[in-house]
Amino acid sequence: MVNWKRKMIKSAKNKFSTYSSSAAYIFLAPALSAIFVFFFIPVIAAFIISFTDFDIYALGDFSTVRWVGFSNYFKLFDDPLFWQALQNTFYFVIVTGPVSIAVSLTAALLLNSKLVKFKAIFRASYFMPVVTTLVAVAIVWRFIYHPKFGIMNYLLSLISISPIDWLGDPLWAMPAIMLMSVWKNFGYNMIIFIAGLQNIPEDLYEAADIEGASAWNQFRFITLPMLAPTTVFVSIITMIGYFQLFAEPYIMTQGGPLNKTLSIVQYMYQEGFRWWNMGYSAAIAFVLFFIIFVGTLIQFKLQKSDNT
C-alpha cells in the first residue's frame, strides 16, 4: 500500500516539480537561513572557540583571544572535577536509561492489555509528568525529599524505614535524582511503546495461543523481538536526553553534596557562564557531543548485529 502510494506520488511529482524549483528555495530560505546562522555557525564557532583561551577578558576585547591548540582538551583530561562530572553523568545515564525504559514498557503493556478499560484516564495520569515544567517539578521533589517533613520519608516510615537525607547524603543524592527522572520521563517512551505494540499483528498471538505458549513466552518470543526497532529508537532518544542532565541537579542539589550530582552540562554552564572560561566550556560541550555521537553509533551497531 505504501509502495503504491509512493509510486503515485513520484509519478505526479515529476510533472509538478519541473516548473517550480525556484519557489522551493523561497520556501526554504527563512527556516534554513535561521538554522544556518543560529545553529550551524554556532556549532562551528564553538568548535573553534574550544581551541582558544577565550575568557572574561576576551569578552571585552576579542583581540586578546589566543589559539591554544588542544590544551583545553588536555586540561580536561587532568581535571578531577570534570572526571567527577563525567562519572556522575554516566552513572545517571546507565542506571536511569534502562530503568526508565523498563518502566515505560511495563506501563505500555498494562495500558495495552485488553482487560483494562478507562485507558485514557490512566494514560493521562501516567503521562502528566512529561508535559510539566522540569524546574517546577524539581522544586516540588526537593520538598518531597525533605529529610524531616518530606512525603518520601513519611511513606517510608509507614513501612518502618528510618528517614534518609535524600539530597544531603552523597550516597543517596544521585539515586534521588534518578527516581525523580524516571517518574518525570517514563510516560513519553510509554506512548512510543504503545504505538509499537499496536503495530504487532494480532494473528501472531492467536497462533501462539493455539500452540499453547505461555504469556511469558509470548512476551519473550513475539512482543520483545517485534518491538526491537522501537526499543532502539527509544534507547537512543532517552540516552541523548539523559546525557544532557542539568535542571534536576541545578535545582535540587546544585551539584552537591561533594559534587556527587554535578553533571557535564552543569559543569559546562558553570565554566562558561559563571567563570566565563568559554574556551574551556566549549571543549566540555564538544566532549558531550562526542559521547552522545559514539553512544548513538554503538546502539545502531548493536541493533544491526541483533538482526543478523
Binding site: I9, A12, V131, V137, V140, A247, V265, F289
Partner: protein, 271 residues
C-alpha cells in the same frame, strides 16, 4: 470479574495515583499558610484554604510580569516557527531541487548535536548585537527547528499531488497553493507541532537562564529557580509558584492531548 482483572485494576489505579501524588501535594501545599507544609506527618489537605502565597507571588514578587513574559515568548516562538517550519516542510515534501536529499539528510543527522554546543557562540553573537536580555534572545534560536520541519514534511508527503496540480492548472501561484491547500490540510500536524513548541518554550530552562539577565525579563522557570535560592524554607510559596508554572501546561495538554500523543507517535516512525 476474575481475580487477574481486579489485581490489574488495583495495580494500575494505585500507580496512577502515585504518579499524581507530587501534583496533589503541590496543589494543596500552595493553599496553606506559612509553615503548614513543614510538619510531620505531612498533611495532604489544608485545614483552611489561604491565598496568601499567591498574593505574595503577584503583589510582592510581580510574578504577573513573569507569567506574561512566558506567555508572550511561547506564543511568539510558536507562531513564527510554525510559519517557517511549514514552508520548509512543504518544500521538502513537494518540490524537487538540486541537493534536496543531501540537504535533508544533513539536517536530520545534525539533530544529534546537543543544543548546549551552540549556546556559547550564540550568547556571544547576541551579546555583540545587543540582544541579550531581550525577548529576541529567546525568539531567535527558536525561529525554525529541524524536528518541526521533519514532522511537517512527513505529513505533507501524504497529501496527493493531484490537488496541487489542479490548483496549478487553475493558475494558483506557489504561495497560494501553500496558503490555500497545504496549510488547511496540514492543520492536525500544525496543532501538534504548536503544542510541542509552546510547551517546549514554556518549559525551557538552560537557554533562558543564560540569555535573560534581568528579573523583569525572566520566564517562569528562571524566576522560579531564582526564587528557590531565597526561599528554601518556604515550601508553601514555592508550591504556589510551581502551580502557576504548571497549570497552564496541564490545561494545554488535557485539552489537546490527542494531538500531542499523535505527534509523539509520528515522530517515532522512521521512514
Amino acid at each position: 470479574m476474575n481475580i487477574k482483572k481486579i489485581l490489574l485494576y488495583i495495580f494500575i489505579g494505585l500507580t496512577s495515583i502515585l504518579t499524581l501524588v507530587p501534583f496533589i501535594w503541590m496543589l494543596s501545599a500552595s493553599f496553606m499558610a506559612d509553615g503548614k507544609a513543614s510538619v510531620f506527618p505531612p498533611i495532604f489537605f489544608p485545614d483552611e484554604f489561604v491565598f496568601s502565597q499567591y498574593e505574595t507571588l503577584f503583589v510582592r514578587l510581580s510574578m504577573a510580569r513573569t507569567f506574561l513574559n512566558s506567555l508572550l515568548l511561547s506564543f511568539s516562538v510558536t507562531v513564527i516557527s510554525l510559519f517557517f517550519n511549514s514552508m520548509a516542510g512543504f518544500a521538502f515534501a513537494k518540490y524537487r531541487f538540486i541537493g534536496k536529499k543531501k540537504l535533508f539528510n544533513l539536517l536530520l543527522s545534525s539533530m544529534i548535536i546537543p543544543s548546549q554546543v551552540t549556546m556559547l557562540p550564540l550568547f556571544l553573537m547576541l551579546k555583540s548585537i545587543g540582544l541579550i536580555n531581550t525577548y529576541m534572545a529567546i525568539i531567535i534560536p527558536g525561529l525554525a527547528n529541524i524536528f518541526g520541519i521533519f514532522l511537517i514534511r512527513q505529513y505533507i508527503l501524504a497529501i496527493p499531488d493531484s490537488l496541487i496540480e489542479a490548483a496549478k492548472i487553475d493558475g494558483a501561484t506557489d504561495f497560494q497553493i501553500y496558503r490555500k491547500i497545504i496549510l488547511p490540510l496540514a492543520i492536525p500536524i500544525l496543532v501538534t507541532l504548536a503544542i510541542f513548541t509552546f510547551l517546549g518554550t514554556w518549559n525551557d530552562f538552560l537557554w533562558p537562564l543564560i540569555a535573560l539577565t534581568d528579573d523583569s525579563m525572566y520566564t517562569l522557570p528562571v524566576a522560579l529557580a531564582n526564587l528557590m535560592g531565597e526561599h528554601t524554607k518556604d515550601p508553601e510559596l514555592m508550591m504556589a509558584g510551581s502551580v502557576l508554572t504548571i497549570i497552564p501546561v496541564i490545561i494545554v495538554f488535557l485539552v489537546l492531548q490527542k494531538y500531542y500523543i499523535k505527534g509523539i507517535m509520528m515522530g517515532s516512525v522512521k521512514e
